[in-house]
Amino acid sequence: MTAGATRAAPAAPPPADGANGAGRANGGARWSFALREFRFWLTDYRRTWRGSVISSVLGPLLYLGAMGAGLGTLVNRHAGGTLGVPYLDFIAPGLLAATAMQTAFGEALYPVLGSVKWVQNYFAAAASPLRPADVFRGHLLFVTLRLAMNCGIFLALIAAFGAVRSALAILALPAAVLTGLAFAPALMGWAVTRTRDTSFSVLMRFLMLPLFLFSGTFFPVTQLPGWLQPVAYVTPLWHGVELCRTLCLGTTDLGGAAVHAGYLLAFAAAGCVFATRSYRRRLNE
């Protein structure tokens, strides 16, 4: 290896993989590798950011206008104050959490499949020093950024509509991002194993849509038939909706918030473990 040593190495060889116990010392290198993948997505996003920001603003405007101002007038007149707050104030944080979920579906399915099937950028990255886990983390970091953007815009619009009743509402942003992260890693880990996108629309229709409609976004889950209520309570979206709503309305209690956040975190963590394995299997088969 003498000749090799005298040649200018293109990059300082990083230490061995975690397999032989170098894992901890390696932590910095790991995240710097993930950042390289993250930067790919930033470059990629520069092409489409305008359109995506416009739809991130228009979508919430339409929802808040139609549901809050339009439907809300009707609900406020007939609900007789059962919600305790105007319908707009009730529904806006629910929509915020649901938007986080929808963003997660949008960012975690097609872009991931495209990365192995159409653009194949994952394989380009896997041929470089990046490991499958770095590719996953870097992309997840970008998904997190997209979540923060969409949820940030949504929250700002909620405030503009005057539907925020507490300063705690600022915490609804990380809460909403966390809601999205309860979904994104698992979806990414699943999408990376797909060879076709046919199952994606099925998933959106029969998983995302029911969650959107029945997780307390539009009405309290206590309105559901008794047998269906426990189902709502185990969905991550319900926990996200509750967390965002209580923060925006200022009715949060610490214990409840901790349970919701913990539940969402557990989903996110389990998704990461699953995705790390399925990325490795797919990219290093």
């Binding site: 190495a9 653009v119 194949q120 041929a127």
Partner: protein, 317 residues
Amino acid sequence: MSHAADAEVLVRARGLTKRFGDFTAVDGIDFSISRGEAFGFLGPNGAGKSSTMRMVGCVSAPTSGELTILGLDPVTHGPAIRARLGVVPQENTLDIELTVRENLLVYGRYFGLPRSVIRARSATLLEFVQLSDRAGDQVDPLSGGMKRRLVIARSLINEPDILLLDEPTTGLDPQARHIVWDRLFRLKQRGVTLILTTHYMDEAEQLCDRLVVMDAGRIVAEGSPRALIGQYSTPEVLELRFDPGDHEQAAEKLTVLPAGTAERLEVLADRVLVYTRNGDEALAAVRGLGLEPLTSLARRSTLEDVFLRLTGRRLDD
């Protein structure tokens, strides 16, 4: 072609095996590749070439056997090895909506290279692959040959010790292939270590100092193109075409040719190949038997003939 016995060995494999479930893609192969060599894996689709290449590229762990690349174990030092490899994969894996230059930028970043270094190297590399005037263009409308050249430029962005090329010219038209070959030949002249897979015998003959012939996961022969042809074929081949109705009958008659004239016969679906020292003499002998082929062609032996001899099949089967 002999290489110095003490040349630095960059890749060494012993009993290298890759299984996918019950299927054995690579079945216990041995090879070693030295610095500066152009080494080829020649074989038909499904011979195990790409699986071997993926193991050497450290994106697929061997099922068993030993593999050392740049003196390191790919299982424990994958990232360190990959940092010093250049990879031209079978599929281009370019981001076709980014520009030519942006593709080099995002790829260079995977290696942790600063933007200024990537920019400087990109200019040189695009010059080398004759794409300088397309640097700011989107990749999508580029021709297949241009995309392939861009992938070659991209693979050199980290100034690799070893360049891996998986089917570098598959799917390209003849002119585009020749341009790619020309660039690869220049790299070889500069002393870059090339490892390539191909199912084109002309590609292997043009580019490889040494190659192994693979079939069904095994190495069936090893040597320089010339040595393999010398060992497994005759200097010349006479290709004869008969009327389809007379094909079998004519082939039957040819078996009486003396060994000095026709060392061996291969009866293909559409042609009969007569392996001989001298094609013109053999043709005269064929005519002497009262046979008049529709067409005849005397040519030199190629690696295709070596493969046919070794496996009984053609490379593009």
